[in-house]
């Protein structure tokens, strides 16, 4: 576990780490030439059939070829993907957080705060000097400015009295700013520790699961080489399985390197034989994932259908032999076993319906991938699942080739049903808007329902759903970066309602690799300051319309539309109205979901401008 302090992080020589990463890359390249010499100069040269022919000669050539191939694989998998890339990624991650510290620490010190506590739970509190200054009615200028009073000049006059009257506000303002710095510092250290632990895990796992080397020539060679070849044939599938299962420790960027180093035949074989591993894995290009996921979706629907038949048969048997009911206190009652089957059957039927609807939505009448008729862009299925509330990641347009990517993260009540209905409607609206009000470039719009969202408002007061989904959202953004063809896209994360809590929590704990963050109708984003998000504050946007009920339920931190939060606010209309004047609550509730209504052009246009990099057009 990472024990890095903020001073350790500040003082790291990231350039040395980066140089070492480049050195390992160069090492791998140079060493690959040596492996090639075995093939060219030995196997195909001095030791060719013309100079050395026999069964043993064939064995020697085979053994040397296996040795060279193994070294090539090792150079790719270990020296490059794991060692070099881990160093480069760690250098980038540490350097990004150093940049945050360079900004933050002087602010903390210049405002009279001090850092206390452990590296994973830092506290930022007023120094004794600052507290003394406040108590002596001589607060610093910045604090007077925050409270809106004149700084006393040392004489017993109105300003001094006013300071005394505002003493509680001064103290509260000081602690509030300290709290923001604390959030910021904790976010910096959380992301740095996360990057550190991730990099360490990649290297540790490497040593624990490495395949064997080819056997040495000698009496036992014939006995051993068969096993070696057998393991070799399974190796790629096992690596893919470990990656998909999260056991490899590889980042999406490293997964992408690994994937690119496979041959076309190896990639095709993985998609065909193990689509369930390829489909959900961040770092694998979108086209391949879509192909794999559509196969898995077919199978899943078939599998659920099979289980429905089984359950129906079991229930029919119980009905026939009378075990579907038992004699209870008030007569015949449904037996527990039968009731369980009823529940299971209902869940299965719902899952099948949801998956079939999703499949219908992204498939055309001929059974081919469908295009969204609003923009002509294809649908891509990047993931789905029926666990919990259900998960679905669907893109309109290809994020690997698009100029802009907008990932919409929905909130409370999101479920698999929404992936082909309401949530998809919003995603399609965003896609159409980006096309309509965009800058001419292509925007891929993603419905990212890659976390188990809270089912109701009570559950939504808990941030555990966001905490649990943070690593997935981090991975998703890193995957988008790693598979991008050409220049990286302009990536925006758009959270709605609890989805903003999801985005903010991921950004301030794990880190997200995004250019812009947009909070729509937020109940708080898990941090009190835009500075803690790891994205330039000028690229943090928020909007809550003036009728939205959410403004009264700020349960996850400071309102991100507030000046105190430190981001930008954009306008949204509140077009929905109550069904009757006396039903005052209806408008407030309805307008929480009005941001993508056809008659809320203000909000939609603003969102489009942010997503397509036209911030100057945001109102």
């Amino acid at each position: 576990m990472s024990d890095m302090t903020w001073q350790d992080l500040r003082d790291l020589d990231c350039e040395a780490i980066r140089d070492l990463g480049e050195a390992w890359k160069s090492h791998a390249s140079t060493m690959a030439e040596q492996a090639q010499r075995i093939r060219d100069e030995v196997v195909g040269g001095h030791l060719s059939v013309e100079n050395y022919e026999s069964d043993t000669a064939d064995t020697v050539r085979e053994q040397l070829t296996l040795t060279a191939d193994r070294f090539d694989d090792d150079l790719s998998d270990y020296a490059t993907v794991r060692l070099s890339t881990s160093l480069l990624e760690a250098a980038d991650a540490f350097e990004a957080e150093q940049g945050e510290l360079e900004e933050l620490i002087p602010l903390i010190e210049s405002h009279g705060f001090e850092i206390d506590g452990d590296p994973d739970d830092y506290r930022v509190k007023p120094t004794g000097d600052l507290q003394w200054a406040i108590n002596k009615l001589n607060p610093p200028q910045w604090l007077c400015d925050r409270v809106g009073i004149n700084k006393p000049d040392g004489f017993l006059d109105w300003d001094t009295l006013n300071t005394l009257f505002n003493l509680q506000d001064l103290i509260a303002a000081a602690w509030s700013l300290g709290g923001q710095y604390e959030d910021w510092l904790q976010a910096v250290m959380s992301r740095a520790h996360d990057a550190d632990d991730d990099a360490a895990a990649v290297l540790s796992e490497m040593r624990e699961s490495a395949p064997g080397l080819p056997p040495q020539l000698g009496a036992t060679y014939d006995d051993l080489v068969g096993d070696y070849k057998s393991e070799l044939s399974e190796e790629i599938a096992e690596e893919m399985q470990a990656i998909a299962g999260g056991e490899s420790g590889l980042s999406p960027g490293q997964v992408n390197e690994w994937w690119n180093n496979l041959s076309d035949a190896e990639r095709e074989a993985l998609i065909e034989e193990h689509p369930e591993w390829v489909g959900p894995t961040d770092g694998i290009p979108v086209e391949s994932r879509d192909t794999a996921n559509r196969v898995v979706l077919d199978r899943e629907i078939d599998g659920i259908g099979g289980r429905i038949t089984e359950v129906e048969q079991l229930m029919a048997e119980m009905e026939a032999n009378g075990t579907d009911t038992v004699t209870g206190r008030y007569g015949q009652e449904t037996s527990d076993a039968y009731a369980e089957l009823e529940d299971e059957l209902a869940d299965l039927r719902q899952d099948r319906t949801d998956l079939e609807n999703l499949q219908d939505h992204i498939t055309d009448a001929d059974g081919n991938p469908a295009n969204f008729d609003g923009t002509g862009q294809p649908y891509y299925l990047l993931g789905f699942g029926t666990e919990g509330s259900g998960e679905a990641i669907v893109s309109i347009g290809n994020p690997d080739t698009a100029d802009n990517v907008n990932a919409y993260v929905p909130g409370t009540g999101s479920n698999l049903d929404g992936a082909s209905n309401g949530l998809m409607d919003r995603t399609e609206t965003m896609a159409r808007d980006a096309d309509r009000w965009g800058d001419g470039g292509e925007t891929a719009t993603v419905l990212w329902m890659g976390y188990d969202a809270p089912d109701n408002l009570l559950e939504a007061t808990d941030d555990k759903w966001a905490q649990e989904g943070s690593a997935s959202l981090e991975s998703f953004t890193q995957g988008i970066r790693s598979t991008a063809e050409g220049d990286p896209s302009n990536l925006t994360l758009t959270g709605h309602s609890y989805g903003t809590t999801m985005v903010g929590t991921a950004a301030s704990t794990e880190g997200v690799d995004a250019d812009n963050i947009m909070f729509v109708a937020s109940p708080g984003v898990g941090t009190d300051t835009a500075s803690a998000l790891g994205v330039d504050e000028s690229n943090v946007w928020a909007s809550t319309n003036d009728e939205d009920v959410i403004q009264y339920g700020m349960v996850h931190g400071t309102d991100p539309t507030s000046a105190e939060f430190g981001g930008n606010e954009f306008a949204s209309d509140s077009p929905r109205e109550a069904s009757a004047p006396w039903k005052f609550w209806e408008g407030a509730v309805e307008n929480h979901s009005s941001y993508w209504d056809l008659n809320n052009e203000t909000s939609r246009r603003n969102q489009s401008h942010i997503v397509t990099g036209q911030e100057s057009g945001v109102s």
Binding site: L12, S54, T67, L217, D222
Partner: protein
């Protein structure tokens, strides 16, 4: 077989590696050249790997001193790479070279290679850096 004089023999007595073979040709000088290449690869990879490991050590130490989890993992990974993966590759290249050197020197294929055979029979004028002392350190000596 073509021995160093170019004469060809056939149907030699075979050991485990040669079971079922009925054709055997060898150009010993070419085999010697392949051994030279393998030994050169072995030393080049060992040298380069030692270099990258040395370059890694101070960075790993600095990272470790900074309380990172990455630092110790990096140090161990570099050593592991040197000893087990690049090291494993050079061991295979080296021992295969020794096997071939012995075959070429004796102008026949040997049934079962061991370092002692190389030390006893190989032409050390060709491979001045591979002394008996090196071979004697091997467990199969």
């Amino acid at each position: 077989m073509r021995c160093s004089s170019g004469a060809t023999f056939a149907s030699l007595e075979r050991g485990p590696l040669m079971a079922g073979a009925d054709v055997f040709t060898m150009e010993p000088d070419e085999v010697h050249k392949s051994v030279e290449v393998l030994f050169d690869i072995e030393s080049a990879v060992d040298r380069e790997t030692a270099s990258i490991a040395e370059e890694t050590a101070p960075v790993a130490e600095t990272l470790s001193a900074a309380g990172t989890a990455f630092g110790p993992a990096l140090g161990e990974a570099a050593e592991w790479w040197k000893l087990h993966r690049a090291g494993g590759f050079t061991r295979l290249a080296g021992t295969t070279g020794e096997y071939l050197a012995t075959c070429a020197e004796e102008a026949v294929e040997v049934d079962d290679y061991n370092a002692g055979a190389f030390a006893s029979h190989a032409d050390h004028d060709r491979y001045p850096d591979r002394a008996n002392a090196t071979a004697s350190a091997r467990p199969d000596w």
